[in-house]
Amino acid sequence: MKRIFAATGAGLAAAVFLASAVAAAEITIGLGADVTSMDPHYHTLSPNNNIATHVFGTLIDQDEMQKLKPGLAESWRIIDDSTWEFKLRRGVKFHDGSDFTADDVVATLARVPAVPNSPAAFTIYTKSIAGVSVVDPHTMIVKTAGPYPLLPTDLSNIFIISQKQAKAATEDFNAGKAMNGTGPFKFASWARGDRINLVRNDGYWGPKPAWDKVTFKLITNDPSRVAALLAGDLNAIEIVPTADMAKLKTNKDINIFRVVSNRIIFFHLDTDRDVSPFVTDKQGKPLDRNPLKDLRVRKALSKALNRPGIVDRVMEGEAIPAGQLLPDGFYGTSPNLKPEAYDVEGARKLLAEAGYPQGFAITIHGPNNRYVNDEKIVQAAAQMFARIGVDAKVETMPSNVFFTRANKLEFSFMLVGWGSGTGEVSSPLRSLLATFDAARGMGTANRGRYSNKQMDALLDQALATVDDAKREKLLQQASEVAINNLGIIPLHYQVNSWATRKGVMYVPRTDENTLALEFKPRS
């Protein structure tokens, strides 16, 4: 019907041409978050990194489960605790035709700290590197400041640019001039806030992309994105709104692809201060001690949460009840940790034991535009706390205000989320639960100021252990200590979802990336 309508119009030739081209090898994908820059080293922001992944390569890639796999480096090995050798892939060419060599990697690592005005630099992934030496064009040695097992993981986040662009400015990337990578797609154009066009890189070293042209449309409004898919303007969308999931599932023209994500939604709670600002008795008078410091209270609150209920009703099934920091199967997760069961009676009993038979009052804070259904989750939790006698008030705010205040430790009990870009459990342990130590970068997001010596020790040990098996054991132990002690109260893991028009398949990814390479026409 649309075709007919278009064909009657003035732009007949163009419309028909476009329409038929779509059928051939074009894909239009709706993205849910705005891309701020094309510079692969300017701002470590998922939408930016997602685009960079298309155009640039990394030494080490992450698969759809965030397992590391060879990328531009064919292999790597540990020479000693702080020395790594990387063998680079041969025959790889940049989009401009030049060969990929170790010098490009050196140039990239040199550029990362030199990008001006970066609000969030990629240096967090390169700071462990003490020196790089080139053995031959396809072999290089990386030395770290101390034992640093996460080096490959960190390097999987660094996009390799050609040495020709070593001095390129952010503007050059934004304008497309410097968009010279080794990735499966070449940069074509970017209309800021609207769309990004890519074309196939026929010289790509890996599997051949199915699409000649890729268009990413930026539609941050959820219903609009769904509507565009339903209207057939898009072949695929990311971040399917949970509200529409049920309906889309029944739509024969739509395919849904889902996988559990690396993002956990949890409550952070003030376990540090003796008087916490938003915990009072039921009349609103301050309490003489902070009940949240009492493990029994934390346990009671955890038991009061009906996780399956939230998953079912608030998240429309698009989440999985959480018992630890990453879903089972991720590196460093403990098989012993299970989601706390919903148990109102048990919770009441624990509260009484802790000396709060009548409960107390608390304000739950949360952002209202950061996580999937964040505002609704907070309300649901408040409902559930009310059932065990804890009067919970809800206060949500835009994330700009929320995070500023949270970082100033203004809250007592707050909803936050954490996505582990590295795909393993040391990331949340280090940032969320380690004792706050700004200089060492420990507990940077520990907004409850949870502190546990035993956990700190286990984590430090793990982070200095290069042996993967041993490290995993240590991380599992650290997780168990922190979670059993309820340094945070885990709620659920988000589920990443994509929806496509019939005929297009996708391999869903835990890291939320929407990779055109992974969309395949059904054969």
Partner: protein, 305 residues
């Protein structure tokens, strides 16, 4: 020859009306405006008595059960209560939520407009009466304010202030006072030149008496008209701000916030979460505007005879 003529015109003598009675008679002359007033009266009744007529207190989280979430209109809750208009994602009875939402929306709109009216009228009268530097300063501020889109002012103000009923009322006052100030000053300047004010001056009545007994009551009609329009505007603006994620706290939703919440469910067929509050909002604003339109006609001196 100079005998006092005591014969009033019979037509006039037959109906000794106060201006207010005359105003009422004129007002009810229009069927659609009367209908608007009736609807508005029902809405006001619902808003005022919401706590007594709602099946549920939708603002009390402990009364909600998430397991009742997103039930269709007419279905029964787990413990058998029927939800006439269905529930939202938190298990909130939509009917109660709309009653309370009306209450909040109207309270926000009316309070904000009323405060803005007091502030703006004071400013406008001050400017008109004192003139000179005071007038220049006040009217410059008004000009600056009016030369800027209201939604942007509210947007930035709310971003700074944060959420809450009080905050959104402050933002709406900040947006609206200038309209009142301008209208009041304009009317006051016109009225001030009328002969009855000169007559009052001639009778050596005090300045304050002239301003409040003579000038002020005659400035009221246009302000009342502006007021109805601005109440409707305030309600709509609050809804829009809520839609943009600023404004009221999620636990005490106004109509706008209810619509915004249900907005995400529209495409999935759960129309009732957004649709019914939308209808309530529509009726509210339309009825206020209808009443305002009629007020404008009735109070317009040019159409008056």
């Amino acid at each position: 020859m100079t005998a006092p003529d005591t014969a009033l015109e019979p037509a006039l003598a037959a109906k000794p009306q106060t201006p207010f009675q005359r105003f009422l008679a004129d007002f009810f002359d229009s069927k659609i405006a009367t209908a608007g007033l009736v609807v508005l009266a029902i809405i006001l009744f619902v808003a005022i008595f919401a706590p007594w007529i709602s099946p549920q207190n939708p603002y009390d989280l402990s009364k909600l059960d998430i397991m009742d979430g997103r039930l269709e209109p007419g279905t029964k809750s787990m413990d058998g209560k029927p939800f006439l208009l269905g529930t939202d994602d938190q298990g909130r009875d939509m009917l109660s939520a709309i009653f309370y939402g009306l209450r909040t929306s109207l309270a926000v709109g009316v309070t904000a407009s009323f405060c803005a009216m007091i502030l703006g009228m004071t400013m406008g009268l001050t400017a008109a009466y004192f003139g000179g530097l005071v007038e220049t300063i006040i009217m410059r501020i008004v000009d600056i304010q009016l030369s800027f889109p209201s939604i942007l002012i509210a947007l930035i103000l709310l971003a700074v202030l944060g959420q809450g009923v009080d905050k959104i009322i402050i933002a709406l006052i900040a947006v609206q006072w200038a309209y009142y100030a301008r209208t009041t000053r304009g009317t006051a300047l016109v009225e001030r030149r009328k002969e009855y004010i000169e007559a009052a001056q001639c009778l050596a009545l005090g300045d304050r008496r002239v301003v409040f007994r003579h000038l002020f009551p005659n400035c009221l009609p246009p302000i009342i008209v502006v007021n109805t329009v601005l109440i409707a505007n305030a309600i709509a603006l609050e809804a829009t701000l809520s839609f943009l994620g600023l404004g009221l706290p999620i636990t005490e939703p106004s109509l706008g916030l209810l619509i915004a919440n249900g907005f995400t469910y529209l495409l999935s067929g759960k129309y009732w979460i957004s649709f019914f509050p939308g209808v309530a909002l529509l009726f509210t604003i339309v009825s206020i505007n209808l009443v305002g339109d009629q007020l404008r006609d009735v109070l317009n001196p040019r159409l008056q005879k």
